[in-house]
């Protein structure tokens, strides 16, 4: 990963194939290039809050969106969502939940915790690319985020 420029997109995904497909979809949509893939919830939280191995990361710079899978080892996606949306410093950060689960309870809980979008990963790659790039377009290009202090 290129660490010299600030990461704009955090992808939290334990399945490397899905992660790769997501990145490919984002690239196809010509969105920003700086990604970081966290393979579990704990790593994602460390990254977001500049802890542990990411203590050097400058929190004030860059992160524009998080693509979050729900089914993760260690700390689950919903817990990550809760931690980010529960913290005043990060609650304005848009989070797109991308998951295979179509379970109503998951969708409802995710929205209740403050998820900004909920995208079901389709099996069909075309649909997948379409879904990711559409969401990416909205959150990275069209959406005007509020100013975050600090």
């Amino acid at each position: 990963m290129k660490q010299f420029s600030p990461v704009e997109i955090l992808i939290v995904e334990d399945n490397p194939h899905d992660a790769e497909l997501t990145i490919r979809a984002l690239k196809k949509g010509h969105h920003a290039n700086n990604f970081f893939v966290a393979e579990n919830g704990e790593e994602a939280l460390d990254f977001i809050f500049s802890r542990g191995q990411f203590s050097e990361r400058d929190k004030s710079k860059g992160l524009k969106i998080i693509f979050l899978d729900l089914k993760l080892p260690k700390v689950s996606g919903l817990e990550v969502l809760k931690a980010v949306k529960g913290n005043p410093a990060t609650k304005m950060l848009p989070i797109v939940v991308i998951t295979s689960s179509k379970e109503d309870t998951d969708i409802q809980e995710a929205y209740a915790l403050g998820a900004n979008s909920y995208v079901v990963k389709p099996v069909d790659f075309d649909s997948f690319i379409h879904a990711i790039s559409e969401t990416g377009l909205y959150w990275l290009t069209l959406n005007v985020p509020p100013k975050v202090n600090g």
Binding site: N15, H17, D18, L21, R24, K71, T99, S100, S101, K102, E103, D104, K121, P122, V123, D124, F125, D126, F128
Partner: protein, 731 residues
């Protein structure tokens, strides 16, 4: 001179000084020459001399030794005989007032101071003597008078005695006279009374005869008016009296006089002679004589059942006979009465017959039938033999409550309640029906079932209660067993339900995993095949590219299968939220949403006015999506597709129909239409996973509705489903 006028007097002088006595004597002897002068030298001597000499006046010195003048005077005046002798007190000087008063209180008559003035002494003594003489005179006259009175009184007393005696004799004579007079009077009264008595007796006799006649008429009238037979007979068993009834109904006599002097056999014979051809024309007679003899022999009254034929008809008489005595107590015959009880006999025979029949009928019942009077210890009038198997007691024990009171057999804790229920039923006129336990003769507890009701008269008063009681112990035991089995079953169901719920949870977890994990590899297959296709296009020939397409196609199809399977399994888990659904709007919206422009153009979508129905909005929408989707899919090979929606109400349910003009199906496979993964067409012909109709069926069944289809190959299909019309019919 005064002295001359005085008779001979005695003067007593009492003084302790003799000189004084001499002086007094000298003075007084001159003044009263005829007087006897007596001297006493002391008080005591003076009193003695006064007693013996009876002086007319006493001169008393006050100052004396031993007994002084006061004392002497006191004693003199206390003496009854001497008190009337005047006492002149002589004192050396005039005594003071208190002494004078004392002397006067003691009875002294006068005072004279010493030395005595001669004239004063004489005058005083004269005065005293005169007073004494006057008093003596008065006393003498008084004595004379008293004597005369006594003599007169005695004479009068004597005369009175005489008078009394003659009066008594007079009275005695009068009484004798009076007695004699009364005796004469009494004699006269008696004579008068006897005359009256005789007169009255005559009247009484007349009255009695009249009364007797009246009573005879009265008795005759009463007797003849009776339906009962009455008669009297002498010792020869000949009639001395008969009433009309016995003459008419038994003897067949001309009148009540005819039987007098004749016997029963006379009349029996006369009847028999009239009908010699019929030996049983008249069989009465002999039995009457037999019972007469029995009464005469025993001398006591008796009851007899006498029966036989009279004028060819059976007659049963309830006869009472008793001996007849004269006034002296001697038996002179018999009296009798008879009541015709032929009808009662007949009825009671009939009744006992029908009772016997009823009893036989009732005895076939497994329980006991009863009839009793109202009241806690209401008399048991009837009870069937069924009481023995039910209670262990015999009929005789219950009848008239002889040994057993049924109410007491009811277990104590139920007794009051059963009793109250009975009372309520009697009050309302309803039928009582209930179950309660009783204790039988052997001490065993049995459950019985009873049905009973009150029987009332026209005024609504309870005459008695009638009911039926059956042993239901066996049934109760069976019920208990069933209830126990039910409980066990219930427990088993609960257990099973818990197991199923656990299994369901597991299934949920499983389907969650399936939905998440099974799709990831497929996504990778599809995605990386795509990458292969895109990034290495130049290295693949046509076959290679086709193979990539097949891989992708199958991966996507697998994904669709997984989605449908999950949808099907989710159906069972979600709750129904029943609302009123506007089916018309829903169908139109769905059609618009699921069709593309080409499909819209070549399809005629017709909706006749649709009835609203109750259902879960999301699920019913799924049904419509699947069915319209199918209709479009299976008519896709038609140049012009036609889809028609209609509805009608049947038995509180709304039946909807979606008809198309598509490929249709063979009715012999209609049973397979709604099974999961069952397909009637190949994927080549029509795409699909075979889950859609299974989902439709499951949703409709959950709503309590039905789903079915009609079709013909190449002539289109019609799918029907029903939903509840009203909210309360929803499940």
């Amino acid at each position: 001179m005064i002295s001359n006028q005085l008779p001979m007097v005695k003067i007593l002088a009492i003084d302790d000084n003799n000189d004084n006595l001499v002086v007094l004597r000298a003075i007084l002897s001159v003044a009263f020459p005829d007087a006897v002068f007596i001297s006493a030298l002391s008080g005591k001597d003076g009193i003695d001399k006064a007693g013996s000499e009876d002086p007319d006046v006493i001169l008393l010195d006050l100052l004396m030794p031993e007994m002084d003048g006061f004392e002497t005077c006191k004693l003199l005046k206390e003496n009854h005989r001497l008190r009337k002798i005047p006492v002149i007190i002589l004192t050396a000087e005039m005594p003071n007032a208190s002494n004078r008063v004392r002397a006067l209180q003691l009875g002294a008559d006068s005072f004279l101071a010493k030395p005595v003035v001669e004239a004063e002494l004489i005058a005083l003594v004269s005065t005293m003597l005169r007073i004494k003489q006057s008093e003596d005179l008065i006393s003498q006259e008084k004595q004379l008078l008293e004597k005369t009175i006594v003599e007169r009184t005695q004479a009068l007393q004597h005369q009175l005695e005489e008078l009394k005696r003659s009066d008594r004799e007079l009275k005695k004579s009068y009484e004798t006279l009076e007695t004699t007079k009364q005796a004469s009077l009494n004699l006269m009264e008696d004579l008068k009374a006897e005359v009256e008595q005789r007169k009255r007796s005559e009247e009484t006799l007349k009255e009695s005869q009249k009364r007797f006649m009246e009573l005879s008429i009265l008795f005759r009238s009463i007797s003849d008016n009776m339906t009962d037979m009455l008669w009297a007979k002498d010792l020869d068993k000949n009639f001395i009296f008969t009433n009309k009834s016995v003459c008419d109904n038994l003897l067949i006599a001309a009148d009540t006089d005819e039987p007098i002097g004749k016997g029963d056999l006379y009349f029996a014979g006369r009847q028999r002679e009239l009908h010699p051809e019929n030996p049983v024309w008249h069989t009465f007679g002999e039995c009457c004589i037999d019972s007469d003899q029995a009464v005469i022999d025993s001398g006591t009254a008796g009851q007899f059942d006498e029966f036989g034929n009279v004028k060819g008809k059976f007659l049963f008489l309830d006869v009472r006979k008793s001996p007849l005595y004269d006034l002296n107590g001697k038996m002179i015959g018999t009296v009798g009465s008879a009541q015709d009880s032929t009808k009662e006999r007949e009825m009671s025979k009939q009744l006992s017959l029908s009772e016997q029949q009823l009893s036989t009928l009732v005895s076939n019942l497994p329980g006991m039938v009863y009839r009793c009077l109202d009241g806690y210890d209401g008399r048991m009038l009837f009870v069937s033999d069924g009481c023995l198997p039910v209670t262990g007691y015999k009929r005789e024990d219950f009848i008239e409550n002889r040994t057993v009171l049924f109410n007491n057999l009811i277990l104590e804790e139920y007794r009051e309640q059963v009793w109250n229920n009975w009372q309520n039923v009697l009050a309302t006129g309803d039928m009582f029906e209930g179950e309660y336990p009783i204790r039988t003769a052997t001490g065993e507890t049995k459950w019985v079932w009873e049905r009973c009701r009150g029987i009332y008269n026209d005024h609504g008063d309870v005459l008695y209660m009638e009911g039926y009681i059956e042993d239901i112990s066996a049934r109760r035991a069976a019920e208990e067993r069933i209830s126990k089995m039910n409980d066990e079953l219930e427990n088993r169901v609960l257990e099973r339900t818990a197991q199923l719920e656990a299994a369901n949870k597991e299934l949920e977890a499983f389907s969650y995993s399936v939905s998440h994990d099974l799709r990831a590899p497929l996504r990778a297959i599809d995605g990386f095949t795509r990458i292969l296709f895109e990034d290495y296009q130049s290295l693949l020939d046509a076959e290679g590219k086709r193979v990539c397409g097949v891989i992708q196609e199958n991966a996507i199809r697998m994904g669709q299968l997984i989605d449908d399977l999950l949808a099907l399994s989710r159906l069972n888990r979600s709750d129904l939220h029943m609302v009123r659904i506007n089916m018309e709007n829903l169908a139109k919206t769905v059609f618009t949403e699921i069709t593309n422009e080409i499909e819209k153009q070549r399809t005629t979508f017709k909706i006749t006015k649709l009835q609203q129905a109750m259902g879960d909005n999301v699920l019913v929408r799924q049904v419509i999506v699947n069915l319209i989707g199918n209709a479009i899919k299976f008519s896709s090979q038609r140049e012009h597709a036609e889809i028609v929606l209609s509805s009608e109400v049947q038995n509180e349910m709304v039946v909807f129909c979606i008809r198309d003009n598509g490929a249709g199906f063979d009715m012999k496979y209609s049973g397979k239409l709604f099974g999961a993964f069952q397909r009637l067409h190949s994927v080549k012909e029509f795409d699909g996973t075979g889950i859609g109709l299974a989902i439709v069926q499951r949703i409709i069944h959950r709503h309590g509705g039905k789903v079915w289809a009609e079709g013909e190959v190449e002539k289109g299909a019609a799918f029907y489903f029903s939903l509840p019309l009203k909210a309360e019919n929803s499940l």
